[in-house]
């Protein structure tokens, strides 16, 4: 039977299986290949907290979703078009998000009595007609691999581990993707193990061939290239982008980079990446705890490094006291908080935006600091450099908020030219003439960065209140008032040094959709849909949460209604209402999952 080729402008594929099934690898390879083909791509790894949860269980399901297309792709996709389910549990967990009439590729071997019982199925959904609304393909992948590689002695371990590549091969056929990038990856990954390379390449091809030659696969989908700006691209996660952003910022500032961190999900990638950058002269310390991570960064900043620490919620709690010290001694530290569902241990692998209050207010004393938020994986790079720019220029710790979603999601990233990145200007003082540790730059109110090693600048700093200008310890009442106000004013002045907020759509009107952080993707998609429908709606994405852009108040006052969707119970909503005295509607999702665009769209339709 001839195959039909159908053109689509966007598709969502989800690989799902046990956490040992190689799902994350298959997903990453699919997304790399799609990037190389020139598509826009947005991915989301969704895995359990358990490293190798008991096989076949519902809670052990690991998944990787890829949303790709020829148009602008800002989310990981609301509904799944193609679900690859390696076992019964992965079908059960993900079926609810499958598109009407969507495609299921089920590894039938994973639907035996044991797997069905673990998934809580009374009888086999592949056989009882329960899936008749969908296009179901049942494949016994292990058997097909064995048939394809008949005569070869494949160790059972390799057989089990290569099923993901068989599934990947099938999806490559369905979406007309080339195998070369994956073959290249296999060759690199298993360099020196020729038999493993050979087997894996054969299995990948076998998957492709199976789909091509099986009559039930009637349709191939063609997704044209997206309209991307010319340049060199790669796929990147938010966490990788942060790590690269730190190195780039240090280069632009001509400073050594130091990262003091403690492993914590979902921020650990940043520490791991930096630890591998030794040939770029980067130093790091895997500290004994989160507190030491922050304190070692303060020590390095005091010594003149571009210092950073990376963490997630519970770690931010532990760093809090030391952040206050960095505010008091006024040294630059970039604090990356990859937010996860809290409070306490919460849901470590699941994203949330619930640390905004903590970032803004979570310190004793009047202790303001700049708070920034990255809105996508690729934006993490630019915002990390921006955090470093502000930290160094204003001599202050800066918190950059990302989250477990954009931290681990990948997007194609147009690799920037170092020349196009902003120069960072550390304000080192080297001349002892007229030096005082707390003599401020009249424009920025920043104190000078006087690092050890400079003759004649020997002085003492610390957590005790300082006398204005001299930096001597002081408990004088008027001085404390003045210093507290100076520390506040220094941060508020940053509002004059950040981009103005930009409204998309009408500049005034009925409804302003206001997003921050990772809700940008779903909010932007919802806005685009409604705007295309001719609705009176406007959109603003906020990246600077403290201080906020100076034109924000006037913008907010130009709209009848404001909606803030956020993955918390209304934290930015509270801040905006308190600060600008405007009523705000909230849309709150705290399920450990990012918003779907249609959830925001539906809420907006109610409001319009």
């Amino acid at each position: 039977m001839d195959k039909i080729v159908e053109a689509r402008d966007e598709v969502t594929v989800r690989f799902a299986g046990d956490s040992g099934d190689g799902i994350q690898v298959a997903g990453t390879l699919f997304s790399d290949t799609s990037g190389i083909m020139g598509n826009e791509v947005n991915t989301f790894p969704d895995y359990p907290s358990e490293i190798r949860a008991p096989e076949g269980t519902l809670y052990g399901v690991s998944a990787f979703q890829i949303h790709f297309g020829s148009k602008n792709i800002n989310t990981t996709g609301d509904f799944i078009d193609v679900l690859v389910a390696m076992n019964a549990s992965s079908l059960k967990v993900n079926l609810g998000n499958l598109q009407q009439g969507g495609i299921i590729i089920a590894n039938s071997e994973g639907f035996d009595a044991k797997n069905l019982s673990l998934a809580g199925y009374q009888d086999n959904p592949l056989l009882n007609g329960a899936l008749k609304e969908y296009k179901l393909h049942q494949v016994d992948m292990a058997r097909e691999i064995k048939t394809e590689l008949a005569g070869q002695n494949i160790p059972p371990k390799i057989l089990k581990k290569s099923k993901n590549l068989f599934a990947l091969g099938m999806t490559y056929w369905i979406f007309d993707r080339p195998l070369e990038p994956t073959v290249k990856w296999i060759n690199k990954k298993f360099k020196g193990q020729d038999d493993v390379i050979l087997t894996n390449v054969k299995v990948l091809n076998a998957g492709w061939k199976y789909a091509a030659e099986t009559p039930e696969f009637t349709k191939q989908y063609k997704i044209e290239k997206a309209d991307l700006a010319p340049g060199r691209y790669r796929n990147i996660t938010g966490n990788h982008a942060v790590a690269l952003g730190l190195v780039a910022a240090a280069r632009k500032a001509r400073l050594p980079l130091f990262l003091g961190s403690y492993p914590i999900t979902p921020a650990t990638d940043i520490l791991q990446d930096i630890s591998g950058f030794k040939k770029y002269g980067v130093k790091h310390l895997q500290a004994e705890d989160e507190i030491a991570g922050m304190c070692s960064a303060i020590g390095a900043a005091y010594g003149g490094s571009l210092a950073a620490t990376s963490t997630s919620g519970p770690g931010l709690s532990l760093k809090t006291e030391a952040i206050g010290l960095a505010i008091m001694i006024e040294v630059p530290v970039v604090i990356i908080n990859v937010m996860r569902a809290g409070p306490s241990t919460g849901m470590p692998t699941k994203p949330e935006q619930s640390d905004l209050y903590h970032a803004m207010f979570g310190r004793h004393g009047d202790a303001p600091l700049p708070v920034l938020a990255a809105s996508s994986a690729t934006d993490c790079f630019a915002m990390t450099i921006e955090a470093a720019r502000i930290a160094v220029k204003y001599m202050t710790p800066v918190i950059l908020l990302t989250d477990g979603y954009i931290g681990q999601a990948t997007e194609p990233w147009r690799i920037p030219d170092m020349k196009d990145l902003p120069d960072l200007q550390p304000s080192f003082v080297t001349n002892p003439e007229g030096f005082a540790p707390y003599m401020r730059n009249p424009e920025t109110l920043a104190r000078p960065w006087a690092i050890p090693g400079i003759q004649g600048l020997e002085h003492r700093v610390g957590g005790l209140e300082k006398e204005d200008v001299t930096g001597d310890v002081s408990q004088e009442p008027g001085n404390h008032q003045r210093m507290t106000e100076l520390r506040r004013d220094k941060i508020e002045r940053i509002a004059l040094d950040i981009p103005q907020a930009v409204v998309e759509g009408e500049q005034n009107g009925d409804v302003l959709l206001l997003s921050w952080g990772s809700t940008y993707g779903a909010a932007k998609t919802a806005f685009d849909t409604l705007h295309r429908d001719g609705k009176n709606i406007s959109f603003l994405n906020l990246k600077y949460l403290h201080p906020m852009p100076s034109n924000l108040e006037s913008i907010l006052n130009r709209f009848k209604k404001i909606l803030i969707p956020e993955m918390n119970l209304g934290q930015l909503k509270m801040v905006i209402q308190a600060k600008y005295l405007v009523p705000v509607d909230g849309l709150h999702k705290v399920q450990g999952k990012p918003f779907k665009a249609n959830e925001i769209e539906n809420k907006l339709r109610e409001m319009l």
Binding site: D32, I36, G38, L228, P230, G231, R232, Y233, R234, N235, I236, V247, A248, R251, R254, L255, P256, F258, G260, F277, K278, K279, Y280, G281, K283, L285, A287, E288, I291, A292, G293, C295, I298, G299, A300, Y302, G303, G304, S305, A322, G324, L325, R414, I415, M418, P426, I451, P452, G453, I454, Q455, G456, L457, E458, H459, R460, V461, G462, G463, V473
Partner: protein, 349 residues
Amino acid sequence: MKTIVDEIAGMAHVGEIKYVPADFKPDVDVRWCAGCGGYAVLSPVQRIMPDFGIPKEKIVFVSGIGCSGRFPYYMETYGFHSIHGRALPIATGLKISRPDLSVWVVTGDGDNMSIGGNHFIHACRRNIDINILMFNNEVYSLTKGQYSPTSHKGQVTKSSPLGVLDEPFNPISLALGAGATFAARAHDKDRQILQSLLERAARHKGIAFLEIYTNCRIFNDGAFDLYTSKETGADNTVWLEDGKPLVFGKNKDKGIRMDGFTPKPVSLTDGKYGINDLVVHNEKDSTLAFILANMSYNPDLPRPMGIFQAISKPSYDELVDLQIRHEVETKGEGTMEELLAGSTFWDVK
């Protein structure tokens, strides 16, 4: 890439590096109580500093919270009075990023053994090149008299009116257990020995931990009299000297002999044992160091003082630099273009 900090770290000192102790005394009043043991530490530190030939601008004193925390204000060098318990991780970040600096941490028994205990053991095991001076007064003084992790069992303080129930930490055993390459104990009444131990600590590459018994006149006066007074000190302490037998007592008439692995006090005058029967100290013998450290709270044994262990291992900060140098030598200095592009990239025309 040469950074601005490399340039600053490489700046030559203008003029001859020739100091006198007074050069290290800033123009401020020292605000410790009269008779505080802190004074007994401050002045030898100021006295030995000129001997090292290190320019003042290369010296940093970092402290935590407690009476000891004031120390940096009293040194005319760079100084950082930080927060409770965190002097060590701050100093660690500083030393890793600035190996050209001489980094000192001044701390106390509360700061270092309690709130900062975790940082202490990890600094020891990393063997970072930092000198730790721990003022041990066996009490919390700045909060006015509560018991500390080194207070002895039964000690009556404001927060233990019926006596302390916890066993105290033995700081030297803790340091050795955590892998400290240099661990020593001194007290504030013998300034000459204190000064020589400060010098040894300062010259040690890697972590150097010096516990100093410092009397608190106000909240724990006389806590160390048994070990420090003219009348009782010699009979109740034994000074460890490398290569020398462990002899103690006012008349040098007693010694420490090993009975298996158990140190036993013996008389050198009753004819049973002579000097050759005594254990001979060896600073490089870690097993012996543990045994000697564990003599500390044994009421039947004199309190050992001096250098328990001084062994040589590469310091953490050295290893960090070595690893970077090795990477650069074997793989070449990385370029930003290469780093940003990663391993899989493609071009869009």
